[in-house]
């Protein structure tokens, strides 16, 4: 029986285009949810650039430590803020002259503020970034010292997720360990939210990179 309609076989280029489209769709789905500014999981952040970013390089995902990791120092700051009132209620400070008490009070709040500000800065700027070309981990371990680790996406060999413990399970955060074939053998995204989704994004980026290699348009 003769065929009424015979579909043209898909060319290699069309197949690649289709695959590329589906990859883009999958990545968009994974990155669909997410908020801005003070969020720890920021997909495709707007108005944000990092120092070594290249002109055509796009940030796919920005990660910080899960906000729950800030709870211990926030509690400490609250305790420090109320401490002078407790001390005044419990101990008589009449033996200290008024002007000395006043300066002591100001110094106490200056130190408390500096401590809180430092902690916030450390949380806000210690970020892990996934771009369409690289993975970057930016750390500020101490004052005026920074540590930037990066690896090309195509150098990634393995991605491991480390979760466990009550708090981590409850709030769904953990470490993402990325083994690379580069100069730095391992990059660690510490205590990031939704590590499963992060791993998925890295895998999608890896597929995309492989796809680009197949098409011969590697940057």
């Amino acid at each position: 029986m003769p065929d009424i309609f015979v579909a043209k076989p898909e060319t290699e280029k069309q197949k690649l285009e289709k695959r590329k489209e589906s990859l883009k769709k999958e990545l968009d789905e994974i990155l669909a949810a997410g908020s801005r500014l003070f969020s720890a999981f920021v997909p495709k952040p707007r108005n944000l650039r990092f120092e070594t970013q290249e002109k055509k390089e796009k940030i796919v995902l920005l990660l910080r430590r899960h906000p729950i990791t800030n709870v211990p120092w926030i509690l400490l700051v609250i305790l420090l803020a109320f401490a002078p009132f407790f001390i005044k209620a419990l101990v008589s400070l009449d033996f200290i002259p008024g002007n000395y008490q006043f300066i002591l009070f100001l110094c106490w709040y200056l130190f408390t503020f500096a401590f809180a500000f430092e902690k916030f800065l450390t949380w806000f700027f210690n970020v892990s970034i996934l771009t369409d070309e690289r993975v970057i981990d930016i750390d500020f371990p101490t004052l005026l010292y920074r540590d930037i680790t990066e690896a090309k996406i195509d150098r990634i060999q393995d991605v491991n997720i480390k979760t466990g413990g009550y708090v981590r399970s409850l709030f769904n955060f953990g470490d993402v360990l990325i083994q690379t074939a580069g100069a730095v053998p391992e990059i660690c995204f510490e205590a990031v939210p939704d590590p499963q989704r992060v791993s998925q994004v890295i895998n999608q980026l890896l597929y995309e990179e492989e796809q680009e290699k197949l098409e011969g348009r590697v940057k």
Binding site: L48, E51, P97, Y100, F125, R146
Partner: protein
Amino acid sequence: MTPAEKFIQFLVEAIPKFSILSLIKIFFVIGLFLYLAFAVIIIRQVGLMGKTLDGEFNLPLKFIAWVHLIISLGVFLLAIFIL
């Protein structure tokens, strides 16, 4: 009276005039001066962090760091004058 004896007598006479509160004031002033240096370092740090990761929130952070430095300077001067 030998020079050593003279020196000891000078110390014995001078120490009561030098009250414990004056010593505390010196500690306060030195401490606040070091804190002032720390406040300057915070400004440098915010600058370095902002250069590394340039976003919308950098300007308010720089503003906070500068306000912190001004307040630190105010407390330092206050300590010199009112203590």
